[in-house]
Symmetry: C2
Subunit: 248 residues, 2 copies
DNA sequence: AGAAGGACCAGTGGTCCGTA
DNA sequence: AGAAGGACCAGTGGTCCGTA
């Protein structure tokens, strides 16, 4: 439906970075491990196999060549754009971002139809299987970390397009970066949840285009924190049920 | 509600077997691996750490002692019983089996309430988390392989109690074992699915006590096979839409 | 033989952090 | 600095098969 029209929103061409090659470092004991301070509970360990272009191999000197076999491409970064505005330069706009969510929905529907056809388990959410399918059919610009990262921004766009549009205009005008805009998308969603009995899962599941997305952990945590906050305020003497948003 | 009344259905005492102790065999290469012929696709490898009672240790000679610290207990096996009938001897009846499903439902509800309290993700199905909870609160007789094994039997009990009861009486009379009864539970479910557009997921999800259980893979496959079968028959010249159950 | 369940494994949800 | 995404990891769904 809107799929092809919006494809034009993506800038042609992609950012480039050198392809990495993996070298096995299995069984090398504790070397290369790194302590990570976990924000909660346990600490984790993470081992990474990271190697630059092999020093022994012949390699192309020209980093600017286009279509070279040795370049890994990544999408242009997002910038805050107004509704309808196409990003200039090596950037992508927010209409394009939201369009990616619609594409994932389309891929999910196809995966569901295949599963029904085969009599297999049918996913109700955008799962790893859907991301794999997207890759398989050539939509390599769709990946899980990116989609999960901006889910709540898409949620606001779905649930209150006017508020979403107003936020985009305000943040563009102030010259804020994408990260700041993304952070700001949480607050109106928490306010909506407050009005609906703090049922953020219910809010997602009631909306046909949003129901296929997992509620982001951080949004869930913010809602929970605010609910506790509101409950404490309303039970405090003289607070009279007012909602005070200390955590923002 | 019915929980305590039905607890009496379980035979007191449990079957006994020696406790096993694990010995680490990490890093011992390919020793102990065993080829398994997979029924589909790939072959799998499975490594098991299995050790009998340590030969060096002092051990109790008396295998019959009750409450000995070195006995692992497992539930009595099920036998086919009529509705309302309590199994005699070291056996459990089918009312007790179905009661375990109700207990799991109760545990799920408690896990859900805890999750909601904490603002965490709330399971809608009986998941590993629920089985862990059951173990934690002392219901060690509940475990995942057992519950998954008999889900479709419980489904029939939920969806058509009369048919389920009739099947139990018939199989008891014929002196069939639990395995045979369990196999026979598939057919009436497939017939029900045929009547409802082959939507076995819909059938499960519509029933309040069944909706919390995953549809068993085998039941799903049987429904799919029968649907294909029925479609082929009805499109064959002169078959006139009759459903012919070749696969049973 | 028939059956209960510990323990395994492929693929999941979630996101960190090496990368540019 | 701000951002995209490969790749990791703890815990899942599913059930095999060593056990008695």
């Amino acid at each position: 439906d809107t799929t092809n029209a919006l494809d034009a929103l993506s800038q042609e061409g992609l950012s480039e970075e050198p392809v990495q090659q993996e070298k096995e470092t299995m069984g090398s004991g504790g070397g290369g491990t790194r302590e990570v301070v976990a924000t909660e509970k346990k600490k984790k360990q993470r081992r990474r196999k990271v190697v630059r272009k092999g020093g022994d191999e012949e390699e192309d000197e020209d980093e600017d060549e286009i279509g070279g076999g040795c370049e890994r491409q990544r999408e242009h970064p997002f910038i805050v754009t107004e509704p309808g505005e196409v990003a200039r330069g090596k950037k992508n706009g927010l209409d394009y971002l939201f369009h990616l969510y619609e594409q994932c929905r389309d891929f999910l529907i196809r995966v569901q139809n295949i599963a029904k056809e085969r009599g297999e388990k049918c996913p109700t959410k955008v799962t790893n299987q859907v991301f794999r399918y997207a890759k398989k059919v050539g939509a390599s610009y769709i990946n899980k970390p990116k989609m999960r990262h901006y889910v709540h921004c898409y949620a606001l766009h779905c649930l209150d397009e006017d508020a979403s549009n107003a936020l985009r205009r305000a943040f563009k005008e102030r010259g804020e970066n994408v990260g700041a805009w993304r952070q700001a998308c949480y607050k109106p969603l928490v306010t909506m949840a407050a009005r609906q009995g703090w049922d953020i899962d219910g809010i997602f599941n009631t909306h046909p285009r949003l129901a296929i997305w997992y509620v982001p952990t951080k949004l869930r945590q913010l809602c929970h924190a605010e609910r506790s906050n509101a409950a404490a305020s309303s039970s405090a003497p003289g607070a009279g049920g007012a909602i005070i948003a200390h955590s923002f």
